[in-house]
Point group: C2
Amino acid sequence: MAKQKDISPLTIQRLSLYLRALREMRDFGEVSASSKDIAERVGSTAPQIRKDLSYFGSFGQKGRGYKIDELITTLEKILGVDKKWKVALVGVGKLGQSLLQYKGFWKSGFEIAAIFEKDPGKIGRRILGIPIYPTESMPKICEQENILMAIITVPFESAEEAFQRALDSGIRGILNFTGYCCFKPPPHAFIKDVNMSAEIEALSYYISTY
Amino acid sequence: MAKQKDISPLTIQRLSLYLRALREMRDFGEVSASSKDIAERVGSTAPQIRKDLSYFGSFGQKGRGYKIDELITTLEKILGVDKKWKVALVGVGKLGQSLLQYKGFWKSGFEIAAIFEKDPGKIGRRILGIPIYPTESMPKICEQENILMAIITVPFESAEEAFQRALDSGIRGILNFTGYCCFKPPPHAFIKDVNMSAEIEALSYYISTY
DNA sequence: AGTTGTGAATCTGTTCACAGCC
DNA sequence: GGCTGTGAACAGATTCACAACT
């Protein structure tokens, strides 16, 4: 279940969708599900789902489908969300505060444990009980608190600096909201870009064109 | 420049990155750029950029690269962001309010013109000067105001209903923050899913695995 | 010499179809 | 009969390599 190499990022992203779908089904009282059932929930196809799962092992029963509880546990293990993750928020402007407030993502074992800011007016205060530290203390705090992930929401201009500091602090996973996208992470650090402008501009393209 | 068919969504998404990079370069005083220059800015490769652009025409000069101003104008036209777009916000809970506050995206010609809500306590009020209407009035208002795009941030449970109402209101482009992903839009409507949980769970996978 | 634009080659991802099991 | 797991076929995206142009 662990060291599978060369699995497409697209597969990984979809695994996360399957997990949510399965949790819904469970909450709905279902006990087992076929690849077709899952496909309908996530707007995909049955062979796609079987193929994605097959990269990691055989979890179903021929003729019967998948046991929902088991598959949930399996997917949680694969995705690593069976563990608790401590996350740093770097930059607590409008967007950062919004993400803090928005509890949606922190459901599955992600916890914002520290906030880092440049603005002296904010340093030393707390938001939702979470302490705000000066950026310089990031290496120390991240080590102390065992923080391995960061959500970076600083302005574009400070992005490169923030990235570098995060890596120097032992951060291995970055969720990047800055729009800065030419940072090359070292071999075992990972960056995921979230780019809402690009999304909405793509919509603009489709509406204009078709 | 208009009706190119069958262009990959990935290309479109990247066009948006190129556009931002070029604007930065322009603001920095640059006048022309090679595909290599752009590639460095966006963390891609030179042939990728030339290929992407080639689907729409030949905009460069051999031996010299691209005139930045011209390419910006071209890309704006291709993406349709040379027009002003009015956008509806559907659901103004925590996440919706955050997006409103966060001016980042509204730079390039997108304007939130109306907010739609179920909560009677919010209806009739305004946020940042933008009126909050009951969801039922969506078809009427969207037609009056010529709103063709919607950002949907309602809770998962209300998503399907919200999608349906948006389409009934003439909305052609939806930016979907609900996590609901099995909605099949009709031929000339388009949905873009933004899924931050999936992003962060993917990070969890990479950190755990490598 | 420098750089574009592009067909051809390669690589990656998805779909199909069916053997094998329940 | 129903459904998984998977190799093989197919489709799609990226990279390469080079002719054409400045």
